[in-house]
Structures are given as structure tokens and as C-alpha cells.
């Protein structure tokens, strides 16, 4: 339709992508003590909205972080091997928290854009009303 509604859809896709990112981050944080858990990462990419209107951000495939799992010494653990170690998760809480904060900031930025677009549209119609 108009550029305003295009802007609204783009902002909305950004909100959706950031909330999905936050979902995977919370999954990582919840599984920080799960043995053998690999942290999930998610990639963003752009999709074309119309013929040549670039726009909507979309989340790609979920990937597993292939870095080494933490080895934890606990001989009483049921999954411990002969040396008394078992494999924990490779989630680093510091990284996850920083990433969550970044997701929050990006979400807020998209929200502001959404609000601004609405405000601009309203001002335009106010002009017509006078």
C-alpha cells in the first residue's frame, strides 16, 4: 500500500526477529547446566518484500555452536567417564547476557521506528483535517 504501511511491516519483522533471537537466548540460559548441551545461534538475513523493495529481516536456520563442551570433574555423576569427568554445556552466561541486552536494545529501536511511523502518518492526516 503506502510507504507508511511498508515501514510498519519492516519494523514488525524486526520485532519478530529480535523476539525469536531472545527465545533462543533464553533456551541457552535455561540449559546452561544441561550435560552435552550446545548453545544455539541464529542468523538474520534480508528478504525482498515486493519487486525491488528491500526490507523484511528474517531469521535463518538455527545453528549449534561447535566449540568444545566444558569438562566438569564429578565422579559421582551418572554420566562421568573413567577419569571422573563429564561433558557439560558450552554456554557462556556472560555472552548470553550481553547478547540478550543487545536483543533488547534492537527491539526497542524497532519499537521506536514503529511508533515514529505511526506518528508521521497521524501528523499527515492532521494536516488534511485542518
Amino acid at each position: 500500500m503506502s510507504e507508511f504501511s511498508n515501514a510498519l511491516s519492516v519494523s514488525s519483522s524486526g520485532l519478530q526477529a529480535q523476539s525469536q533471537r531472545l527465545r533462543h537466548l533464553s533456551e541457552n540460559i535455561a540449559n546452561v547446566d544441561t550435560p552435552g548441551y550446545r548453545r544455539k545461534t541464529i542468523a538474520f538475513h534480508t528478504t525482498m518484500m515486493g519487486s525491488d523493495t528491500p526490507g523484511l529481516v528474517e531469521t535463518g536456520r538455527v545453528r549449534m555452536d561447535q566449540s568444545d563442551l566444558a569438562r566438569i570433574y564429578d565422579p559421582t555423576h551418572p554420566m562421568a567417564d573413567e577419569s571422573g569427568n563429564y561433558e557439560g554445556s558450552n554456554v557462556n552466561l556472560m555472552i548470553e547476557l550481553a547478547d540478550a541486552r543487545e536483543a533488547q536494545r534492537s527491539y526497542e529501536a524497532n519499537l521506536r521506528m514503529f511508533e515514529q511511523t505511526r506518528q508521521m502518518g497521524r501528523s499527515l492526516f492532521d494536516l488534511l483535517r485542518r
Binding site: 500500500m1 507508511f4 504501511s5 510498519l8 511491516s9 519494523s11 514488525s12 520485532l15 519478530q16 523476539s19 514503529f114 505511526r118 502518518g121 497521524r122 492526516f125 488534511l128 483535517r129
Partner: protein, 95 residues
């Protein structure tokens, strides 16, 4: 005297064609297109709202659809107000 009256009549006739509405079909089609677009936006929003309430669809889509509908309704109401105002202005004109 007679000639000048004829001239005035001619001028009046030419002015009359200028005030005639332009080919009404294109304007009508244009308005119909806008109305159809408006109705489609409303229906889309209604379906999104229904889905969000019943099946728990994405709330972002609902917010976006509501914002778009708000804009569409506001535009339609504004245009209608202007049209009604113009009619009232004509009705108030002393004949």
C-alpha cells in the same frame, strides 16, 4: 449591446464545460479501488485478530495489522469529513 450579450453567453457556455466533472468513470474507479483496498485491510486485520485470540498467532502481526487499520480508518474518516463539509458548504450557498 446585442453583440456583447452574445459574447457573455458564449463565455458562460465555455465556463460551464470547465466546471463539468471530469470523466466520472476514472474517478469512480479510483474511489472503488481505494474502498476495496480499505475493506481488504479491515478484513485482514479481523482475521489476524481472530487468529491471535484463538490460536495464539504472533502478537507482532496483530499489532502491525491494527496500526495499519487505524491508519486506513483515519484516512477514510478524514476524507469523508472533507466531502461532507464540502456538501454543507454548497448547501449553505445563497441561491
Amino acid at each position: 449591446m446585442d453583440i456583447s450579450a452574445l459574447g457573455v453567453a458564449k463565455k458562460y457556455a465555455s465556463a460551464k464545460t470547465a466546471t463539468e466533472p471530469s470523466s466520472s468513470q476514472s474517478a469512480g474507479e479510483y474511489l472503488a479501488g481505494i474502498t476495496r483496498d480499505f475493506a481488504a485491510t479491515l478484513q485482514e486485520t479481523e482475521e489476524t485478530a481472530k487468529a491471535a485470540m484463538t490460536t495464539g498467532a504472533d502478537p507482532h502481526a496483530l499489532v502491525q495489522a491494527l496500526a495499519q487499520t487505524e491508519m486506513a480508518v483515519e484516512a477514510a474518516v478524514t476524507v469523508r469529513d472533507r466531502v461532507v463539509e464540502a456538501y454543507q458548504e454548497i448547501l449553505r450557498m445563497p441561491v
